[in-house]
């Protein structure tokens, strides 16, 4: 275990990916995640890896795909509009069953939007983003330390399911500095390890095996249907195995907030203020946004008058909250959008207004 260091979020994310075994990074500059390609350009060649500044996010995701077809661990990052450009690749990788760890340091949208923190990529991240029947697990850290741990652990998860895994952070988490304890450095996989663990990988057949083909084209609809159904079984396994959340102070709560990432930290402080004002409040903090932690909502106490989805987006997560609540409690929304971030007191005031009417 290494000592505690003070690191900027973005640099800590990059270091976590390297320590998790990723030695290949392909990126394109976009705010607020530029420290990541900058860090990778300084660091990767010193650890036997490679950094390429791609000509676009389209090229970056496809470079990442190419590199990942060889079985090596690959990490990429971008921010909201750049992630939108990468959807072609993510859909392709999911169908071709290629592991990848991808980080979105998201900002306000839509369109070019702004560069301040946002969570309005919730739908893009959790509902596909690209074309076709597929899913990508999405993990949302709330602190720099949690992001480091999630990125580090995403590498084996991507391998386990042969699927991309997305980490949804935001500009605030990327730009802020917090103390972190960095995990142990893992070596990159050797060709021999890849050949053993990933028999599908493109390593050259060496005249020792049949050729490998990585593909996503299936022209016969019956074959494509079978392929999709097989992948769906895998997604079902993810739904059972990858749910992550925290549920706090639900017992006796009048109000239950649902919030993730940066917003969950602001809500946490708002809950303290509400408690001081004699209002009992708790929180469900989804860490996995897909699969969404529906089971957490069964723990909500009968004392609860309202469930509030608190987001840096216009009710995108609230759709999932409503599905999870299954009509048992009224669901309300507290939001800021476009890069605006509320203070804890602002959430307290809005909550009090909601409580007056429910």
């Amino acid at each position: 275990m290494s000592e505690k260091v003070l690191m900027k979020g973005n640099e800590a994310f990059a270091e976590a990916a390297i320590r998790g075994g990723c030695r290949l990074y392909f990126g394109y500059p976009i705010t607020p995640q530029n420290e990541i390609p900058e860090y990778m350009s300084r660091k990767l060649h010193t650890v036997g890896g490679a950094f390429v500044q791609a000509e676009s996010e389209l090229a970056a995701i496809n470079m990442a795909y190419g590199a990942a077809t060889t079985g090596k661990h690959v990490f990429i990052s971008s921010s909201s509009p750049g992630i939108a450009l990468m959807q072609e690749g993510l859909s392709f990788l999911a169908s071709a069953q290629i592991p990848l760890v991808i980080l979105n340091v998201s900002r306000g949208g839509p369109g070019v939007g702004g560069i301040q923190p946002g969570q309005a990529d919730y739908r893009q991240a959790t509902k596909g983003g690209g074309n076709g029947d597929y899913h990508i697990p999405v993990m949302a850290p709330a602190t720099v330390q949690e992001a480091v741990d999630i990125i580090y652990n995403a590498v084996p998860i991507a391998d386990e399911y042969r699927n991309p895994v997305m980490i949804l952070a935001d500009g605030m988490l990327g730009q802020m500095m917090e103390p972190v304890i960095l995990p142990e450095l893992k070596e990159a996989l050797t060709i021999e390890e890849i050949r053993r663990a990933k028999p599908w990988a493109l390593t050259g057949h060496g005249d020792k095996r049949e050729r490998n083909v990585v593909k996503s084209l299936l022209l016969k609809p019956d074959e494509l249907e079978e392929h999709n159904i097989n992948n769906e079984k895998k997604y079902q396994r993810m739904r059972e195995e990858l749910v992550r959340y925290e549920a706090d102070k639900l017992e006796g709560a009048e109000v239950v907030f649902v919030a993730f990432g940066t917003m969950s930290r602001i809500v946490d402080e708002a809950i303290e203020e509400l408690n001081q004002a004699g209002i009992r409040a708790g929180m469900i903090r989804p860490i996995s946004l897909w699969p969404f932690p529906n089971e957490a909502f069964d723990k909500i106490d009968k004392s609860t008058k309202v469930v509030i989805s608190a987001e840096l987006s216009l009710g995108q997560m609230m759709e999932d909250v409503k599905v999870a609540v299954e009509g048992r409690y009224p669901v309300e929304l507290i939001y800021r959008t476009g890069g605006m971030v509320p203070t804890p007191s602002e959430i307290v005031e809005k909550t009090k207004k909601i409580l007056e009417v429910v």
Partner: protein
């Protein structure tokens, strides 16, 4: 008895699904013969495009992956950086390379990526049904240019080899054609040199191959070869545009 002909181990013993008279089959075989002769089949990773030749991985006896439309040079870049000691190539048509993938090919050349691109120019979109490509000739009919391509609507056809030859990182650029036995032999020599350039890690190498598409041109296979000679070669002159000293 002397052996005068052998199948290359580079091609799998299956029938291709390409149309009668299509020159993809010849181009496939030339590439695979070269890799076989250089003893590289087991050490090669190929990238198939979107277009008719997405199916090339059904026929070529090397590890391969498909790529999204136009992105083969980016995919090959990723493979090259992950696997510095392998041989890497892309096989792309003109819709894939010259249109939707124009950015990717230019920047792979610009970075001097050490892989080889086989560029099939048949002046038309094949798989999607004969639409106009950036390489479609003036007056040539296409399903999106039914009266023939017009300069004032679509500009002049794009000469990819000439354009890429201006980029420092593209060190080997040659245009060949598959319209006659002599030209087929020249094409193979160019492909061999291109892979030699890659073996020596001298930079990006590309062979543009003028090819036929009898089906979408509406010609018989033999007439298509004549049409290529009479119409394509005058606009897309054959020859080497760039070759490093080391492989001359």
């Amino acid at each position: 008895m002397d052996t005068v002909f052998e199948y290359t181990r580079g091609m799998l013993p299956v029938n291709t699904t390409y149309c009668p008279g299509c020159t993809h089959g010849i181009a496939h075989r030339l590439v695979m013969e070269v890799l076989d002769e250089e003893n590289l089949l087991g050490e090669t990773i190929g990238v198939a495009p979107i277009g008719c030749s997405i199916l090339s991985h059904n026929y070529m006896n090397v590890d391969m992956c498909e790529s999204a439309h136009g992105r083969a040079p980016a995919v090959a870049t990723g493979i090259r950086r992950a696997m510095p000691d392998k041989t890497v190539f892309t096989y792309q048509g003109d819709g894939d390379l010259a249109s939707i993938g124009a950015g990717e090919i230019v920047h792979a050349a610009h970075r001097g990526e050490n892989f080889t691109t086989i560029f099939i120019n048949n002046a038309i979109y094949g798989m999607t049904g004969g639409q106009m490509a950036p390489t479609t000739l003036i007056g040539q009919k296409a399903t999106t240019a039914v009266e023939g391509r017009k300069k004032e609507v679509s500009g002049m056809p794009l000469r990819i080899s000439e354009m890429l030859a201006t980029i420092d990182g593209a060190v080997f650029v040659e245009r060949v054609a598959l319209n006659s036995p002599a030209n087929v032999r020249k094409a193979k020599r160019a492909i061999k040199k291109a892979f030699l350039v890659q073996q020596k890690r001298l930079g990006f190498s590309i062979v543009e191959i003028l090819s036929t598409c009898p089906t979408n041109w509406g010609l018989t296979p033999v007439d298509a070869l004549e049409w290529l000679k009479d119409n394509m070669i005058p606009y897309y002159p054959l020859g080497n545009f760039k070759c490093p000293e080391e492989v001359k």
